[in-house]
Amino acid sequence: MDLNQLLAIKEKELASRRPYTLRCCTAAGCLSAGGDQVKKRLEQAVAELGLSDQVEVRGVGCLRLCCQGPLVHVDPVNELYQKVAPETARQLLERIRGGTVSLETADLHHPFFTKQLSIVLANSGVVDPERIESYIAADGYRALHDALLEMEPRDVIQAIATSGLRGRGGAGFPTGLKWSTVAKSPGTRKYVVCNADEGDPGAFMDRSVLESDPHSVLEGMAIAAYAVGADQGYIYVRAEYPLAIRRLRLAIEQARRLGILGSGIFGSPLNFNVELRIGAGAFVCGEETALMASIEGRRGTPRPRPPFPAESGLWGCPTLINNVETFANVPAIIRNGAEWFASIGTEKSKGTKVFALAGKVKNTGLIEVPMGTTLRTIVEEMGGGAPGGARIKAVQTGGPSGGCVPAELMDVEVDYESLTRLGSIMGSGGMIVMDETTDMVDVARFFMEFCKDESCGKCIPCRAGTVQMHGLLTRILEGKGTTRDLALLEELCDMVKHTSLCGLGQTAPNPVLSTLRFFRQEYERRLKPDRPVHPVALAAGR
C-alpha cells in the first residue's frame, strides 16, 4: 500500500456515491429500537423501486440523538428523521422522489446539534464503520501515511504535546508527556494499548466511537506505535459491547488486508499489529495496571505504581496506555496540525470532549462539545432540561469515581480543573442528569454498592472499607443511622480515599463526599440523635 493506492481507493469510493444517501444509524442504541430492520426495509425498497443508481442506503455510526431512535439522515436534503419504524421507512424514498412524508424530523437547528463540534465524532454518522473504503474516502489513514513518511517520531510526539491533548479516560494526564516517556524508556520491545474497557455505569462514548468509527482508533494507535517505537498493540474492550467487538475485528482484518496494519506499513520500517483482548466484566480493569494484568491472562488486580506502565508495563516492557477517545483524536491532530487543535477549548483543557448525556433530561444521546462549554449549556440548552418541566437538581459526572454538581453551580465550565474543584471529575464522559425526585443519599449508596461489588479485594481499605461505607449508607437511608454513623462514614471516606491501592478505591468515596458537600441536609434529616458518651472519667469520690 502506498499513497497512490490509498488515493485510488478514495477516488473509487467517491465515484460510487449516488445523488441521495440514506444514512441509517446502526449504533447500539438505534439497533435496539429496530434500526437494523429499518435499514433492511430501505434496502429492499430501493431495490424494488429500481432506485439503486439514485440512492445509497448506508449503515453509519451514531447520529447522536439516541432517545429518538431509530434515526435516518437523508442527504443532500439534510433532514434527520427520528423514530423511523420498519413499516414506515419506505416513506423516506417518497421524500427523495419529491413527495412529502409524515415522519417526524429532528430539529437540526436545535442547540443539541448546533452547539456540537465534532472532531472525535467527525466520522460518526457519516462513514460506514464496516467498510474501510468508507473511512479512507473521509481522508482516513492519510494522517498515518504522512506521519510515517514525512515526520520523525519525535515530531509526532512534539505535535501531540503542542496540541495540548490530555488523556480522555478521566485523569487528564498530558498525552504528549506520556508518549515521550514511553519513547525514552529503554527496551527493544514496546507495546501500545487502547483502553476500551469503558466501565463507568452511565457512559457510552467509547462504545459509540468504536461502533461508529473503529478505524480512527486503529489509526491513532498506529501513529502512537510509530512515535514510541512499539510494534504490537492491544485493544482491551468490554465483553458487554458485542457490536463494537465485531466491528473492531472487521476493521483490524480490513486494515491488515490492505497492508495498513502489518509489516512495513506504507513502505516505512514500521511493523505494527493489533490484537483484540476481550474483557470479562471487571470494572477495576479500567485501571491501567489491572488492565495489563488482564491482558496477560491473569486476575485483573492492580499493583502499586511506580513503576509506571510507561517504564514497566506489559510483560515488563514499556507500554503506552491511552483511552479510545484519546487515540481517536490523534489522526485529526496530525492532519490539521497541533495549533488548530490547541485553538479549541480552554487554556489548560484543549480540544473537545464527548459526553454521554443521559438520565432525567429530554434529549439523551451523544454530544461532542469544545472544552469549556458550561454544564448549563449542555444540560439545559442542548439537553432541553428535565422532561415534564421538572426542576433539575444535579448533574453527575465521572460515574462511581465522580460527583454530583448541584444545579446552582451548573455555570461551571467543563474542563478537568473546574470539575475537580467542585469535588467531581471529568471522568470518561458519562453525564447523568438528576431531577427533584432523585434521592442523593440513594445515589451515593448506589455508587458505593457498585464500588463494593467491583472492588478486586486486594487491598483492605477498598475491600472492607466499601462494605462498611455501604452498610453505613444503607443504615442512614433507612432512617436508622445516628450522627455517630455519619461521622464514621466521613472518617472512612477520608481513609479509603487516601490509603487504597488504586484509583477505584481512592475515588470510591467521591460520590459520598460530593453529595455530603452539596446535599448534606438530605443525610442529616434522616439521622437519629445520639446519646452522648461521658467525655471524661469521673472524679474520685464524686
Binding site: G29, D200, P201, G359, T364
Partner: protein, 183 residues
C-alpha cells in the same frame, strides 16, 4: 461453620481427559487454543470460547484448559471467578439482563428488578428452579440513551417498564407457572 472431612484422592485430570476425548466441543476448544499457540496469556480468551461452547464453565472444562495451557488449576479457577462474565453454573434456557447502570437506575431499573424477582421468585444472579429463566444484572450495557434497558436473550429492549418486562417473560413461563402450584 462447615467442616469438610477428607475423602480419598482421585486422579481428576485423567478422568477429565478421557471424558473430553468423546466430546466434539472439546475438539473445537482445543483448536482454538492451538490458534493461540497454547499461550498462557490467552487464558481469558480461551475461557470466553469455552463459555460460548458449553454455556458455562464447569470443573471438567477448567481442568482441561489448565492441562492444555500447562497452568496450575488454581490459576484457572482464580481467573474464572474474578470476572463477572464467566459463569460456573449452568444458565437458564432464557436470560433476562436488567441494566443497573446509573442512567437506567435513576429511571427505575431498580423497580424493574424488584418486579422481575417478585414474579419469578428468584434473586438476581439466580435461575428459576425449572431452569427456564436466569435473571441477571449488568453494571452498564452502554445503552444509557434509551434507559432503562433490559436485554432479553441477547436482544436489547429500550425504555422498559415493569409491565413490559412481565409481558415479555410471559411466554417463557407458560409451563413453569403450572408446575409451581402446590410447591
Amino acid at each position: 461453620m462447615i467442616v469438610t472431612l477428607a475423602k480419598p484422592k482421585q486422579k481428576r485430570v485423567q478422568e477429565v481427559l478421557s471424558r473430553a476425548a468423546g466430546d466434539k466441543r472439546y475438539k473445537i476448544l482445543d483448536a482454538h487454543m492451538k490458534k493461540h499457540q497454547h499461550r498462557q496469556d490467552a487464558l481469558i480468551e480461551i475461557l470466553h470460547k469455552g463459555q460460548e461452547l458449553f454455556g458455562y464453565l464447569d470443573d471438567d472444562l477448567l481442568l482441561f484448559v489448565a492441562q492444555r495451557l500447562r497452568l496450575p488449576p488454581s490459576r484457572v479457577y482464580g481467573v474464572a471467578t474474578f470476572y463477572h462474565f464467566f459463569q460456573l453454573k449452568p444458565k437458564g434456557k432464557h436470560t433476562c439482563v436488567v441494566c443497573m447502570g446509573t442512567a437506567c437506575y435513576v429511571k427505575g431499573a431498580d423497580k424493574i428488578l424488584v418486579a422481575l424477582e417478585g414474579a419469578l421468585g428468584v434473586k438476581a444472579g439466580q435461575t428459576t428452579p425449572d431452569g427456564q429463566v436466569s435473571v441477571l444484572t449488568a453494571r452498564c450495557i452502554g445503552a444509557c440513551g434509551i434507559a432503562p434497558a433490559v436485554v432479553y436473550d441477547g436482544t436489547v429492549a429500550p425504555r422498559q417498564t415493569p409491565e413490559d418486562v412481565l409481558a415479555t417473560l410471559q411466554p417463557w413461563l407458560s409451563h413453569g407457572s403450572e408446575s409451581t402450584v402446590g410447591d
